[in-house]
């Protein structure tokens, strides 16, 4: 007895098993009818689509469990289309599976590697071609061509320059100035301290001239959230406390992480939460980050009231608002 290990052998492709439709013309006919029925169902689908396009009004709604309220017109259009398409597919596949030959065939693979002489010939051809061009013998041409190609690559970079202006101070400045009134958003009404009860929140923007257009780019930097607490709730240093007015504190609403609107205020805990990445800011401690990926507090806007009692900014923001960028210094 030898020590050689005998492996299990390949029994080869199993013998083909005939389907009933292959052997019995009755089953073949039945399969044929089934395929025809599937195609007819598809035709009905298209008729449903045409009929609903013509006869169903576009303002009727129906309730479907799980999926909810649906516009009947678009629902039936879609169902008609779905039926029409699906059953063409079902018919084709049923046809292929039951009536077309189902005998597996074997094809041979070819080797991808070219014969050695072809590969050698290829190398020779390349060498001969390169030799004929003489690139190796003419370094001057090679280098100047490289220079020309490299330089021409700069063209698109240069031409794309006018896609936008340079940032300049745009990222660091907002529209807030000393004395700018805070107005409601929406509504553009100036706000008195007495308009806000303890626990209230207001979304505000700087006042603009009546009728002037407010660009979204400005809203993206100027949005400010007003929150009124009891003055004794604050845990602020003297300077920051002087930026509040009678328990009202103002923060940039643009998240210091990625610029989403920090809009969720929890009255009980006095936390502000950004719905995008859940950075959580403690309002009583000048919007200090207490959770989440944000690395900086929300910038605080110093506020006070003007002679008429309306809330105004004491000064512009003392730091850029919104997400960080390379040129930001702190």
């Amino acid at each position: 007895m030898s020590n050689e290990i005998e492996l299990i052998k390949d029994p080869g492709l199993p013998a083909h098993q005939h389907r009933r439709a292959d052997e019995d013309p009755k089953f073949a006919q039945r399969a044929e009818r089934q395929v025809a029925i599937l195609f007819l169902i598809s035709a009905l689908g298209t008729i449903l689509l045409i009929a609903s396009y013509v006869f169903i009004p576009t303002d009727v709604f129906v309730f479907i469990p799980i999926f909810g309220e649906n516009n009947l017109h678009q629902l039936l259009l879609g169902l008609g289309m779905a039926i029409a398409l699906f059953f063409i597919g079902a018919g084709l596949i049923h046809w292929a599976k039951n009536l077309m030959p189902d005998e597996e065939v074997i094809a041979q693979r070819h080797e991808f590697r070219s014969p050695d002489e072809d590969r050698e010939d290829f190398v020779k051809t390349v060498k001969a071609g390169a030799g004929a061009a003489g690139l190796g013998r003419r370094p001057l041409i090679k280098r100047t061509l490289g220079l020309a190609l490299g330089l021409s690559g700069l063209t698109p970079l240069l031409l794309l320059r006018d896609l936008g202006p340079l940032p300049k101070a745009d990222l660091t400045k907002t529209s807030w100035k000393a004395g700018t009134r805070l107005v409601t958003d929406p509504g553009d009404r100036p706000i008195k301290a007495s308009d806000l009860e303890v626990g209230a929140v207001a979304q505000t923007l700087p006042e603009i001239a009546p009728g002037a257009h407010r660009a979204l780019a400005d809203v993206g930097k100027d949005a400010v959230l007003l929150i009124r607490l009891r003055p004794e709730d604050f845990n602020l240093d003297a300077e920051r406390l002087s930026w509040t007015y009678d328990g009202i504190i103002a923060f940039s609403k643009i998240c210091s992480h990625m610029g989403c609107a920090v809009a969720l205020y929890e009255q009980q805990t006095k936390h502000l939460l950004c719905p995008c990445h859940q950075s959580t800011f403690d309002v009583t401690r000048a919007a200090k980050v207490i959770f989440g990926p944000a690395a900086r507090p929300l910038p605080q806007l110093a506020i006070t009231v003007d002679s008429e009692g309306y809330l105004v900014a004491q000064a512009p923001f003392n730091e850029p608002v919104g997400p960080s960028f390379w040129e930001r210094s702190s």
Partner: protein
């Protein structure tokens, strides 16, 4: 010859006279395709891409890619009189005034989701069965390219309507650009034509979404399919199947009918979803303005894992020399995904380097027979799934009455701890399955019939499995580990010794296997019975 045959012959002759196509067609119409349900996954991607082209073209006839502000005066009463961009207003018009418009919008969005699911599941199939091995590395790289572009294309697509949700997504994309060191704020201003959001971004991404990327997709998909065609499809091991042949059905007529039929089925299912399942109801979100947001803002699922990584990032920023680097954005938003996609693209080369296997492979691996690869895949999948879960941490927290903090800490720890655990468990499972295969071949199938022997012992009757099955379970190769030299004759570490040591170690881990059953063992066992 009937009249019909004569006409067909004439047409074929006319074409062949001008192109010489007959020879090529003759060969290729009988081309053999192996049959397996998992080979349909790539087809789903192709078909949903065609659906995307068709439904997308329909949408462009009405969509106005402009950020000019208009006052809405359409059918949808709750938004009447509101200021919004023309892009948002025209999306409302498609949804409420164009008949079939909402259907097409929903078909387009569902098809995009199916496209991305198809790509990911197709990728997993190719990965876990080792179909990426030589000679198919090019196609693997093209596939990774299509996945990456698909994520970008999908993001740009759902950003176009300029609703409150998608605008928030763009805001986040802008913050990522802005976070790039040195050039960030410049790139952001160039991309947006000034300060965010400006009026240039939607028209620009529209061009990219409907022209540039679809063009690249078409080119890559064509090459992808041509390579599949030319290299012939891989096949699962089984009786009669070898590295040198391909067993299956000829293109004409079976495969054509099945593939053509499957296109209609995919289209039909997508149309059904578009009809009944509301997706991205932008009229509920309202127009975008940077000062507002809705709670529970979620990206589409294929962006979800990236958002999840950003959410779980620790709050780290560096402020030095008057400059800021936001690691909390750069690491989860760019560096980690960059590393992951690079490793993914290079995986075929890494594996063949580690195993030293440079041969062609046309027979697929059963995942259990490549335990290391399968375990690595499970590890990567676990990492991505934990990230994806964290991308929906707010929704999960509210649904299951958890706090957001619990979710976040689960993800922060889980994303590091769970993948290695998944690796270990998967590898053990693979080896256990190999052992089960071995037992099955050697001892046969458990029949559930208990027999009491004359001396009182109970035994379960085992039935031998078929020769075909036994072959399928044992035809795989078990490669011996590499034994690369680390030291020279004098016991001194040679040049490249450390590299060899690493390769030996990986190779040893890869070669761990339960010895497969052999005929000799079977015979020996029979002798005992």
């Amino acid at each position: 010859m009937t009249a019909r045959e004569r006409i067909a012959g004439n047409v074929a002759g006319y074409v062949d006279d001008r192109t010489g196509a007959a020879k090529w067609m003759k060969k290729n119409l009988t081309k053999v395709f192996p049959d397996h349900w998992s080979f349909l996954l790539g087809e789903i991607c192709l078909y949903s891409f065609i659906i995307l082209l068709a439904s997308g073209t329909f949408l462009t006839f009405w969509f106005d890619p402009s950020m000019k502000e208009v006052i809405y005066d359409g059918e949808y009463a709750p938004l009447k009189g509101l200021e919004m961009s023309a892009a948002y207003a025209s999306t409302l018009d498609i949804s409420f005034e164009v008949r079939g418009g909402l259907l097409m919008r929903q078909i387009h969005h569902w098809a995009a989701l199916i496209f991305m699911v198809g790509i990911v599941v197709h990728l997993l199939r190719v990965y876990f069965t080792g179909a990426f091995r030589k000679p198919r590395e090019f196609n693997w790289i093209i596939g990774v390219g299509l996945l990456t572009l698909g994520i970008v294309e999908g993001f740009l697509g759902y950003s176009l309507p300029d609703d409150l949700l998608s605008g928030t997504g763009i805001r986040i994309a802008e913050a990522i650009i802005q976070a790039l060191p040195v050039v960030g704020s410049y790139l952001a201003f160039f991309a947006f034509g000034g300060a965010f959001p400006g009026e240039a971004f939607i028209p620009r991404i529209y061009t990219v979404h409907i022209l540039l990327l679809p063009g690249i997709f078409l080119a890559l998909i064509t090459v992808h399919l041509m390579l599949v065609w030319y290299q012939k499809h891989t096949q699962f091991p089984g009786p009669g199947r070898t590295e040198k042949n391909v067993v299956g059905y000829p293109l004409m007529p079976v495969y054509m009918a099945k593939a053509g039929g499957f296109f209609f089925i995919v289209f039909g299912v997508t149309a059904f979803l578009g009809a009944v399942a509301s997706i991205n109801p932008i009229w509920l979100y309202g127009p975008y303005t940077p000062g507002q947001i809705s709670a529970g803002s979620q990206p589409d699922w294929y962006m979800g894992w990236l958002d999840g990584l950003v959410r779980m990032s620790p709050p780290i920023e560096t402020h030095a020399f008057g400059h800021t680097i936001s690691w909390n954005i750069l690491i989860p938003g760019l560096i980690l995904p960059g590393i992951m996609f690079t490793l993914l693209a290079l995986y075929p080369f890494i594996e063949s380097w580690a195993t030293g296997d440079k041969r062609e492979h046309h027979l697929l691996d059963r995942p259990r027979n490549a335990p290391n690869r399968t375990a690595l895949g499970a590890m990567a999948l676990t990492f991505t799934l934990v990230s994806l879960l964290n991308g929906g941490n707010d929704i999960i927290a509210t649904t299951f009455h958890l706090t957001i903090n619990q979710m976040m800490w689960f993800s922060r720890i889980g994303v590091l701890v769970l993948p290695p655990i998944a690796f270990i468990i998967t590898k053990r499972l693979c080896l256990a399955l190999q052992r089960a295969d071995r037992d099955l071949v050697l001892h046969g199938r458990e029949t559930g019939r208990l027999v009491r022997l004359p001396h009182g012992e109970f035994v379960e009757v085992h039935e031998p499995i078929s020769a075909e099955k036994a072959w399928t379970l044992t035809s795989h190769e078990q490669i011996a580990p590499l034994e690369l030299p680390e030291f020279d004759g004098a016991g001194v570490r040679r040049a490249g010794g450390i590299k060899n040591k690493i390769r030996n170690r990986i190779s040893r881990a890869t070669a761990v296997a339960v010895p497969k059953a052999t005929e000799s063992e079977r015979k020996e066992l029979e002798g005992h019975h």
